[in-house]
Amino acid sequence: MLRLLPCIAFMIALILVAPLRASAQSDTPLQDVLQTVQPLVASPSRGTVPEMLAALITADAPGTVAFLRAWSDREVYERPEDGFFFFAREGADRNLVLIDIDSGAEAGTASSRDVNQIRPNAGVRREVNAALVQFELLNPNPARRLAALDSIARSPDAEQIEALEIALEAEEDSAIAVRMQRLLDLLNARFATDTATRVDAIDGLRGDISTEARRALNQILQTQSGFGEAVPEGTNVARLRVPGDDMPLIAAYAVLSDAGLAPARPGRNAIRDVLRANVVDGTVGGIPVHQLDNDEARRAAYLALEQAGTVAPLVTTADMEAAVAQYVFYDAYLEADPAVTQAARDALDSTRTRISIWQFVGISIDALSLASIFFLAAIGLAITFGVMRVINMAHGEFIMMGAYTGYVVQTVIPDYTVSLVVALPLAFLVTFAAGVLMERLVIRHLYTRPLETLLATFGISIALQQLAKNIFGTQARPLTAPDWLAGAIQVNDLVSVASIRVAIFAMAIGFLLLLLYILNRTRLGLEVRAVTQNPGMAASMGINPDRINMLTFGLGSGIAGVAGVSIGLVAQVTSEMGANYIVQSFMTVVVGGVGSVFGTLAGATLIGFLQKGIEWFNPANTLAAQTYMVLFIILFIQFRPKGIVALKGRAAGD
């Protein structure tokens, strides 16, 4: 620790004087400095590092930090004839291409035998890295200081405490100072030498739900199991274990026999092996071999052998109990100081409630995001199925069509933002046209036979799916989100939301409002509602039901296309992607209540929350969550066959 001090002092001095220094120097400032301490750089040892660092840092040539990193990572080469240093990369014929350390330009090639790779040993590297962290912590650029803090947090180390304390003194930015203080607490909690400092530091971490704080606390609370005739003096016991109660008797006995304190207990396999080894003339201990096909006979044979004195005695349960009773089994903390472990336990307990609240928030956000995807997938269906009572099994293929439209647009327009802006309306148009075409050619003829629309549209669905497979191939195509949608919004260590999911949520809300507007506030919506309720009466009022049906179907299909683009951004675009959503979409519509936009919203929300909720109980198993969700839906429909939002009166139809 103390040997770092000179470097630190040099660096502080360096930062203070740096702005004053003249910049007029040669073209190769770094090389020049390095040449002044050439032997120290070329053949480093732990004793010479401070001197070399001092020289480099005083000169502060541009690229010093990068050079030191490369140097300690063994990426620097020395040319023996003039003693110059170079970076290098692999060239042709196993030659190295030398790279000038100042300009980064190529400086000729050399065989790897003609140059010396500089190999600082582990001690040197540790020293240099510590100096580099320190150097970064005092860097005038706040971003660099934060990056240095992150790197400390990633690999905490007792030696960094001192560097952090010095940096904290000099820190002016309050936000960074808070972070430094917390990091200091983390390091002190684990590495400080006296109890009071550690307990203080641990108390400073109370209520901190970040991963690094909890990891530090859990590390303090690591235990190791042990046993003895009594608990040894000075052991920080976490809990005692009672064999036969919170520890299986056999396991406890195995611990003793492994330690050589009791004879090994032959298990079933061991007994069999012993018997096998003691077969004499087709019998073991007087029992014919062919009778040894059950445990009693084998035991009897073994006891016979034991009485003859040929094998180790069988260990009975009573033997095990007697042996185990002489010892105490316990889990002990690796940390010897009970005050520290007590403080750490308290600190962890204090975070428990907050953690579960945040986890709940996280799951709710996940559920909301899932619900908005379900909603987008199902809302087009809610129009065609809900309003027109037409089962469109090809709905999923319209989703797929929209996603492929997005993919094609992206191959034409390389800019992801522009292509997305183009793809959304284009997907709507393509699927709108497809929907209208399908309505005109097929569905129009089947309005009186709803079950047969199911079959006919299924035929269209398999044809479209195979067609997509023929055109685009079977492998998944990427639909890339623009950069501004690629990140995630990090609320804290427990909760983060991908921006793309926020965008999809916003889009789902947008569609909800748009549909409500179209259905309730426009002429088209009025006519759609009229045709839904009573086609004959609507026709006699001068509404053309044919045209309305066509437009409604087109609208539902068009929305499926737009949903396809947004689903393609989070899932993979394959010819089967629609089929993955179709059953769930139907269930969403049916659970929500047919013929109502709000019903679909309620259905999607219910299914989304349900699925995530079930997943919470059994996080590793998404399939189980889906299974139970479908079972729930089947039961739900038993009790509310018309869905959550059931239409009443004549609008309910049948």
Binding site: L451, G459, I462, A463, Q466, K469, N470, I634, I637
Partner: protein, 401 residues
């Protein structure tokens, strides 16, 4: 030849004249018998060997598909319940018999290998060996509870009937009781088969997850019998099952019972007002077709050799509806024609056996384009030939008063 069974107006036939009222049954039995005889003569196991064992298996499997197709026809074409979940029952039947096939065969193998040691194995060691062998692939070595009786053939044979039957009974009772009809019922049955498939896909539900059960073509105790012979045994069994199923369903849909279920199809409310227990009729039809589907599955999968949860995905049941619709709803032989022609054509064209057609500019590769044509053809059938292929027979007998 007269086709009477599909007419609602058929007068109740006089006692004992079931076959005279349903001449199609005799025709069907005759053709099935001829077909079976023909395949037997041409087979490798018992005849001149003109038909490969593999083809015998495909034909036998097709007979099983025909059996589930007539079950589907009864529940949909006669009773009007478009069930999109009957393949779940088919799969359950397959799983039930598959458990025995796999367990018993593994047990023989394990006993054999353990028996080579100097000391005979205990029952526990055998059971552990079998469990490790079967479930090693899903990272487990314990026998799940549902395999407790997998070593018993009578028990698993009972399961072939009981599991699909009970599931259909409970599901049907729940669904029909709350008057879920039409499209909703279709979606509900689809949800049922989806739930079952998802459940079976899990590794920890005790049926080997997406690995499914495999090696089902080997019959425990008959390892020395060549596949060419075993395939014929299953072919005959499938043919007998199809014949018996046809007879059963022809009998069920004729007479008064048949009239009632067709009336339910045409106007459920009116039948209810006439005092019939509509739910009871529907439940009976739903359950008995599920049981027959289970039996069909139990015969199908030993010929296929492998069963996995993908087999009972919702799409399979929709294809079943497609076969029946193409063959012609509301007549049993229509379902058989549809299932046989579409599934055989499908395996011929996607198997790469069919010659591709060169159209100069464009080349039709059947493996790529078959599904497109099937889909479009299906749309055409729905739009223009609602009676399906079976409807062609009406033209043959139209002249008859």
């Amino acid at each position: 030849m007269s086709i009477e069974i599909s007419r609602v107006t058929t007068a109740p036939a006089p006692r004992g004249s079931f076959l005279r009222a349903n001449p199609s049954v005799l025709w069907f039995m005759g053709l099935l018998g001829l077909f079976t005889l023909g395949v037997t003569i041409l087979s490798e196991g018992f005849g001149i060997g003109a038909i490969s064992t593999n083809l015998v298996k495909i034909l036998g499997m097709t007979l099983c598909l025909c059996l589930i197709a007539i079950a589907m026809d009864v529940v949909w074409g006669y009773c009007g319940i478009l069930s999109l979940g009957h393949f779940a029952f088919f799969g359950l039947g397959g799983y039930a018999i598959g458990m025995w096939l796999m367990y018993a065969r593994t047990e023989i193998v394990i006993r054999d290998s353990l028996g080579r040691g100097t000391i005979p194995p205990t029952e526990l060691e055998v059971a552990e060996g079998v469990a490790a062998q079967i479930f090693g692939v899903v990272g487990s070595s314990e026998l799940p509870l549902i395999w407790s009786f997998a070593g018993s053939l009578p028990f698993q044979l009972a399961m072939v009937v009981l599991v699909p039957g009970l599931l259909a009974l409970v599901f049907g009772w729940l669904a029909f009781r709350s008057r879920v009809t039409g499209v909703y019922l279709s979606i509900l049955t689809q949800a049922m088969t989806l739930a079952l498939a998802l459940y079976l896909f899990q590794n920890d539900t005790g049926l080997r997850g997406n690995n499914g059960l495999s090696g089902l073509q080997n019959i425990p105790g008959y390892q020395h019998v060549p596949q060419s012979v075993i395939s014929m045994w299953f072919f005959w069994a499938s043919a007998v099952a199809l014949g018996a199923g046809y007879l059963l369903f022809a009998w069920v849909v004729s007479g008064k019972f048949g009239s009632v279920i067709r009336a339910i199809r045409d106007n459920e409310a009116r039948v209810r007002f006439l005092g019939y227990n509509v739910e009871g009729y529907k439940l009976f039809v739903f359950t008995i077709t599920a049981v027959i589907s289970g039996i069909a599955g139990a015969l199908y999968y030993p010929q296929a050799g492998i069963i996995n949860p993908a087999e009972i995905a919702p799409i399979a049941s929709i294809y079943l509806a497609v076969w029946v619709a193409i063959g012609g709803r509301g007549r049993l032989y229509g379902a058989v024609i549809g299932a046989a022609s579409v599934s055989l054509l499908s395996s011929w064209l996607t198997g790469g056996g069919a010659p591709n057609i060169d159209l100069g500019l464009f080349r039709i590769v059947w493996t790529d384009w078959w599904l497109v044509f099937l889909g479009l053809g299906f749309v055409a059938v729905t739009l223009f030939f609602p009676k399906g292929m079976g409807g062609l027979f009406d033209y043959l007998v139209r002249k008859k008063p």
